[in-house]
């Protein structure tokens, strides 16, 4: 086993032996089910009222509309993988075991990405299974398309969690890191869009699309290029986190 796999094995054990991890996954599932099922029955009611065509709604659409919620919950999970170490000072033991900061953060990133990806696909599948039937005759179901969508949903959640992990390493405090995550996902795009008009700078609207939140939305909508944008954010955040871990005392 290489040093990186040993560190990752330890991190995986640490992640799964915390009950809070399972609470986060349960919470994400509950939120997604709730939002997606409400969305599906609303959509079906509206179509019924308008006399919409059968098979006009994508089976995964309600689940996707619920995804921004799961994004925040699993983002918080990713972030805590780092910040809880500082809060409990267990970082001392962790770094004594794995002195290379870069290797430690990489190991954590591998574990977070793999775990959140797997969990995300399962959450998405359960949510689709619970919400799609509520669309009734308006559902448009294609197994091949759906499979791709589930993987995209998982990947998208995994990348947001990795981004949050990097922020956790950079900021160290849970509350602070969570604030930065909110700002990046929700506030930054709004500010850029609002500022575009008064400043007469149209490019800011385009720039807003490249911030993590909107990029995640467009990735979900099927524009795979934005998956790369989101991955870019995750890589930058993890790299910045690794730099901060190396530069500062534990």
């Amino acid at each position: 086993m290489t040093a990186l796999t040993r560190a990752a094995a330890a991190e995986w054990l640490k992640l799964r032996t915390l009950r809070s991890t399972w609470w986060f996954l349960g919470g994400a599932l509950a939120l997604m089910l709730l939002v997606a099922m409400l969305d599906a029955s609303d959509t079906a009611a509206a179509l019924r009222a308008q006399g919409g065509a059968a098979g006009s709604v994508d089976a995964a659409a309600p689940a996707m509309s619920a995804l921004p919620w799961a994004r925040v919950v699993l983002g918080a999970l990713g972030l805590l993988v780092m910040t809880s170490e500082f809060a409990t000072r267990s970082i001392m033991v962790t770094l004594a075991c794995t002195p290379s900061r870069t290797r430690l953060l990489l190991a954590k990133a591998c574990v977070v990405v793999a775990a959140v990806f797997a969990a995300g696909v399962v959450l998405a599948a359960l949510t689709v299974a619970a919400s799609a039937p509520l669309l009734g005759e308006y559902v448009d179901l294609d197994a091949g398309v759906l499979g791709g969508q589930l993987l995209t949903m998982g990947a998208h959640l995994a990348l947001v969690a990795a981004l949050a992990l990097g922020l956790g390493a950079l900021v160290r405090r849970s509350a602070g890191a969570l604030t930065v995550l909110f700002v990046l996902l929700l506030v930054l795009p709004l500010v850029l869009q609002e500022a575009a008009d008064p400043l007469g700078a149209e490019f800011l609207v385009t720039a807003a699309d490249f911030t993590p939140g909107p990029a995640a939305d467009r990735f979900m909508a099927g524009e795979s290029v934005f998956g790369l944008v989101l991955a870019g954010w995750a890589v930058v955040a993890v790299a910045a986190g690794a730099w901060a871990l190396r530069a500062r005392d534990a």
Binding site: L13, K14, L18, S90, M92, A96, C97
Partner: protein, 294 residues
């Protein structure tokens, strides 16, 4: 073996460790003493690479800590017993540590048994008493069967049984040829455990001595019914009690001969032993930062 070379750490204006050069050798228990804020924990943090020195170097078995691939096989440390995630069980905590070093779960059970934590290991670490946390931490330090052990105030919170257990453990680890480096504020305990004592004050080295040398006082104490002629005959002799004289700088034999010459009866004659507490307080008197002022 741990080698510190001109090690210095500054936090803003405070110099926590100041130009410290030390070599900690195998086969002995080295006690690390000093008043609150003297820089003991900071020194240990730098040895583990948790804090980067402002200047100077630390080598463990000739290598920088960050260059050790499976560090727990080289050095096992306990710096802060409470630095464990409170929601994880003691056993899972140790298993994670073991995984990171490529150590199997059977060794985890071994160190749990050794530290008397087998029973408590399934409970969440947040429910442990301080003494149990210390035991878990020591179990973690022993996990990799390292040649160097470094413990920051390990007896803090232990019951008398535990204190004795640590003493025996540290002595036997040193007897096996390991380097043992342990800090404490309990002088009587250090007196019994450590072969060598390193005393720090305000980050600077103020003493590095064999324990027996620190405990050996200077001069002799003599008792008897009518010692006045002896007090007059020996310059420097002081009355330290009724019928008791303390004579610095002379041996028992010299004082005994003098008494014989003067034809005096002596009831007791012996070297002055100081307690470690006394020598320690004397040595650190000028470098205690947080002392209570009467």
């Amino acid at each position: 073996m741990i080698a510190l070379d001109r090690l210095t750490k500054r936090y803003g204006d405070t110099t926590a460790v100041d130009d410290l050069t030390l070599e900690l050798t195998p086969g002995v228990v080295t006690g690390f003493l000093g008043p609150n804020g003297a820089g003991k924990s900071t020194t240990m943090r730098m040895i583990l690479g948790l804090d980067a020195p402002t200047s100077g170097t630390v080598l463990v078995d000739g290598r920088r800590y960050r260059d050790l691939t499976r560090p727990l096989h080289t050095i096992g440390a306990l710096l802060d017993a409470r630095a464990v995630h409170p929601a994880r069980s003691g056993r899972d905590h140790l298993r994670a540590v073991a995984r990171s070093q490529g150590i199997g779960s059977s060794r985890v059970e071994e160190v749990l048994a050794l530290t008397g934590m087998s029973e408590a290991a399934r409970r969440r670490a947040g429910t442990y008493s301080l003494g149990m946390s210390q035991r878990l931490g020591i179990a973690g330090a022993l996990l990799g069967d390292p040649g160097v052990l470094m413990l920051d105030e390990p007896v803090n919170g232990l019951d008398p049984d535990g204190v004795r257990w640590i003493r025996t453990l540290l002595r036997s680890l040193a007897a096996e040829g390991r380097t043992v480096f342990v800090s404490s504020h309990l002088m009587s305990e250090m007196e019994r455990t450590a072969d060598r004592l390193v005393i720090l004050g305000r980050g600077r080295l103020i003493a590095d001595e064999l324990t027996e040398r620190l405990l050996a006082g200077d001069g002799v104490r003599v008792r008897g019914p009518h010692l006045r002629p002896l007090a007059d005959a020996l310059p420097g002799a002081r009355w330290t009690g009724p019928g008791e004289l303390t004579v610095p700088g002379l041996t028992g034999e010299q004082v005994g001969r003098k008494a014989l010459e003067l034809g005096l009866v002596i009831s007791e004659l012996g070297p002055i032993g100081t307690s470690l507490e006394d020598s320690y307080l004397h040595l650190t008197a000028s470098s205690t930062e947080y002392g209570a002022r009467p």
